[in-house]
């Protein structure tokens, strides 16, 4: 067919003897929005890197615009109109918008000197393609995530792009920004540009793409029209497992709340927040990006102490001005970004588990009781089923799901009565997500008060018995998880 932009056939690639991709096919037509889905480790990134010429496949062939390549170089890939927008956007925070847009272009034209008026012209032309209004002299570090993304898209369009690959583009965007992005994608499609949209967010995939290709364990599982899939099938193809969505049931509410928050306020973040949390409950707090949910989570854990308001734990007023205060009051916090905020990647699994709980492992003279420490580490490794031959291995040797278990183990080692989870399954694939939700339910059954802060609607809907909605820094609604549909919840979040 003439209008095939990309045809990857029988691609195989192994690293250090381990097969990352095996006989994978992918075909993209002109002006098509194609979704590449798969769990972490399914081979998505390897495939992207092969298409862009970063990796050379061990076997197989790439065909771009009808031209066959067995050893595609990054330059050839760009010449054929392939552009990648990485998840981290690959932009220079210290340079201006104009320079960020024009630099790559000038580089690929092998220019040695910088003509600042041409840089400006190029940038102006690029932003106008997507009707993006921005001060070209602003430093990129001062832009919002959405604006940065538009900078990256404008830049990609300069190269006569035929195929734009977007790697998880919506992760850090608000709903509104996602809508704006989708409009731009549709617009690009009209201009005949194909989009390969890499994502695992089911609703977005269904909203934007026409075709879906799903990878699992480095192999093609299925490829087809969006209309042929439904949610359950999608999840099944990605994970190879069937999941049943069940609601979390909470019974036996006690008299005294575990945590009571009264009129908590933090300037520019949230105002007058009041709520209660009972033992054994899973409370959801949801809101759009920028609604103040993230700040509220950090305030409850002492990372961003609130300006005013009262916090009671088991009826007693407490002050939480620092993380240390929060830990003293038996609060645990699973942060959003596992890699940077939750774990010490090169350090041992054991140390990662006990780090917040060393105090309880000290003997009389202030020295660490080694036996006690090892017992505790072993106990948690067993309890959480962390798959490792040794507690001495660095955490970075674990898979993502196991890493998240280490973070949970760290906080449970402190024997918290309240566990706050901020986006507990961001970037976690469907299989591990399910497992983590089961763990959380188990914790609630043991009487721990769990707060899930998330904008993943099905997550809060099914796992929380009560959901608070935060909008523009205020709690606007409280709804029971079982009695609301996803659509209603979305509307409440947006204030529609």
């Amino acid at each position: 067919m003439a209008d095939v932009i990309l045809k990857a056939k029988n691609i195989s690639k192994a690293f250090a003897g381990v097969q990352a991709l095996k006989n994978v096919d992918l075909t993209i037509h002109k002006g098509e929005i194609h979704c590449l889905a798969g769990e972490n480790g399914s081979g998505k990134s390897t495939l992207i890197k092969i298409i862009s010429g970063v990796y050379v496949p061990d076997e197989g062939e790439i065909e771009l615009n009808g031209k066959k390549y067995s050893r595609l170089t990054p330059m050839e890939s760009i010449e054929q109109g392939v552009q990648i927008i990485y998840q981290d956007l690959s932009i220079f925070p210290n340079l201006t918008v104009a320079e960020n847009i024009a630099l790559n272009h000038e580089l690929s034209n092998k220019r040695k000197l910088v003509n600042w008026s041409r840089v400006r012209e190029i940038a102006e032309q690029a932003v106008s393609k997507i009707d993006f209004e921005i001060d070209l002299d602003e430093r990129v570090e001062n832009l919002s995530v959405a604006e940065k993304q538009l900078v990256a898209i404008s830049r990609a369009l300069l190269h006569n792009a035929r195929l734009i690959i977007m790697d998880e583009p919506t992760t850090a965007l608000t709903k509104k920004e996602v809508a704006a992005l989708f409009k731009i994608i549709k617009n690009l499609q009209k201009q005949g540009i194909s989009i390969l949209f890499v994502s695992h967010k089911i609703d977005e995939v269904f909203e934007i793409s026409e075709k879906i290709t799903i990878l699992r364990n480095g192999q093609n599982v299925i490829s087809g029209e969006v209309a042929d899939f439904d949610n359950d099938q999608f999840a099944y193809y990605m994970t190879g497992r069937k999941f049943k969505d069940t609601y979390f049931e909470f019974e036996g509410r006690q008299e005294e709340p575990l945590l009571k928050v009264e009129n908590l306020s933090l300037e520019n973040s949230f105002e007058d927040v009041s709520f209660e949390l009972y033992p054994g409950e899973i409370l959801g707090i949801t809101g759009l990006l920028g609604s103040g949910r993230n700040e509220l989570a950090q305030s409850l854990f002492g990372l961003l102490p609130a300006d005013s308001g009262k916090i009671y734990i088991k009826g007693k007023p407490v002050k939480i001005r620092s993380v240390q205060d929060a830990i003293k009051n038996k609060i645990g916090y699973v942060p959003e970004d596992r890699l940077t905020e939750g774990l010490f990647m090169p350090q041992s699994i054991g140390r990662n588990i006990i780090i917040s709980n060393i105090k309880s492992l000290l003997s009389k003279f202030g020295f660490i009781n080694k036996d006690k420490m090892e017992d505790e580490i072993e106990e948690f490794i067993n309890q959480f089923n962390i798959a490792t031959p040794s507690a001495e291995l660095p955490v970075q040797a674990l898979s993502g799901g196991n890493q998240q278990r280490v973070v949970l183990a760290k906080w449970l080692a402190t024997q918290p009565s309240i566990l706050i989870l901020n986006g507990p399954t961001v970037g976690v694939d469907i299989g591990s997500k399910y497992d983590i939700h089961q763990i959380l339910r188990g914790l609630a059954e043991q009487g721990i008060g769990v707060i899930i802060i998330s904008d993943d609607i099905p997550e809060v809907l099914y796992n929380c018995n009560r959901i608070l909605i935060i909008r523009e820094g205020r709690i606007t609604d409280e709804v029971p998880g079982k009695e609301i549909t996803a659509e209603e919840l979305t509307n409440l979040m947006a204030g529609a």
Partner: protein, 348 residues
């Protein structure tokens, strides 16, 4: 059963580096002993080495503390000199020439305490400006190095301080039982204390963790500011100890003594397996590295044809070689780790 397995892997992973260093130490020893059999493997030589290395050895431990948290403390020598000068000034001022021994001893004790307190204060100052103002460690200690050295110059007007009581250097250069020099004992005490602190206390484990990832440590309830201040403060105290040893050895104090020790201590740290970006390193590794350096340096002195000045060249080259070597060995172990993880994810 399972625990035994844990320990085996532990030894293989952790002690690999120490093992390598000990082999190196033995090799250097064997080499020097073969080349100079009549001088090198003799008790006299060992005694004299035991007098030489403690002062920079203690400084190397101080440097290690800053490297562990991903910093670098350029001010250690400045602190050592400043504390030694203040101790010397105090002794000169309050101990007359004909003072009785009991009083002299008491004042020496006071001077030591004052020096250690100054060291602690200077170190805490470093930690404070780093953690509370957010000045990058290298700039902060660069500035404070100038500041401490500057204060020392102002106090001494740039001149050498001499005339401290004879008893002080006598004590500092004594040898217990005629064999074990006092500086060696001081080094051993410092090494054991810091070793215990790092491995057996919560402070130590937190320090390693903070050195690996300060964001995660904040999220884990570690007070990064206090940890930083404490670690630099201990570094300051150790620097003061080194200053007191130098004061005893040279019987004098000066604002710009031992400036080459900064490089040497970084070299020892890197050679001893301390990761300059933080989080890894042990007192054991550093101690063996110190001994390797001392053996080499004493060995060179036995060759009159090798200029003393060439040492800088050798230390510099050694530092680079060790870094390049580590580069290759890290690359290897990283590869092994990646393939292990891949195997795991594809199996699950």
């Amino acid at each position: 059963m399972k625990l035994n397995q844990f320990k085996l892997i532990n030894f293989a992973n952790r002690d690999n580096n120490l093992f390598r260093l000990i082999i190196m130490l033995i090799a250097v020893f064997a080499l020097m002993s073969t080349l100079r059999p009549s001088i090198f493997p003799k008790l006299d030589n060992f005694t004299s080495m035991a007098y030489q290395f403690p002062e920079y050895g203690v400084l190397a431990i101080a440097m290690m503390l800053s490297l562990l948290i991903g910093g670098v403390d350029l001010s250690i020598v400045g602190i050592a000199n400043l504390s030694a000068i203040l101790a010397a000034k105090l002794l000169i001022k309050f101990v007359p020439y004909d003072a009785d021994p009991g009083y002299t001893l008491l004042m020496i004790g006071v001077a030591i305490i004052v020096a250690l307190a100054i060291g602690a204060l200077c170190g805490a100052f470093n930690g404070f400006i780093i953690s509370k103002f957010g000045i990058p460690d290298i700039l902060a200690t660069l500035g404070s190095m100038q500041l401490f050295t500057g204060i020392a110059i102002v106090i001494t007007k740039g001149r050498i301080v001499v005339g401290i009581p004879y008893m002080y250097s006598e004590l500092g250069n004594a040898a217990i039982g005629g064999i074990i020099p006092v500086p060696l004992i001081i080094y051993t005490i410092c090494a054991v204390l810091i070793g215990l602190l790092l491995n057996k206390t919560s402070f130590g484990i937190k320090l390693y963790m903070m050195g690996t990832n300060p964001t995660a440590s904040r999220f884990s309830g570690i007070n990064n500011a206090i940890m930083t201040i404490r670690s630099y403060m201990y570094g300051g105290i150790l620097s003061a100890v080194a200053g007191l040893i130098m004061l005893a050895r040279t019987n004098s104090a000066k604002a710009d003594f031992g400036s080459s020790y900064i490089l040497q201590t970084v070299l020892i740290g890197v050679l001893g397996g301390v990761n300059p970006s933080g989080g890894f390193g042990t007192v054991g590794g550093v101690t063996v590295a110190i001994l390797i350096l001392q053996f080499l340096s004493s060995g060179f002195n036995m060759f009159p044809s090798i200029s003393n000045l060439i040492k800088d060249l050798i230390w510099g080259s050694a530092l680079i070689l060790v870094m390049v070597f580590n580069y290759y060995s890290n690359k290897r172990s990283e590869k092994a780790q990646i393939s292990k993880r891949i195997a795991e994810t594809t199996n699950s």
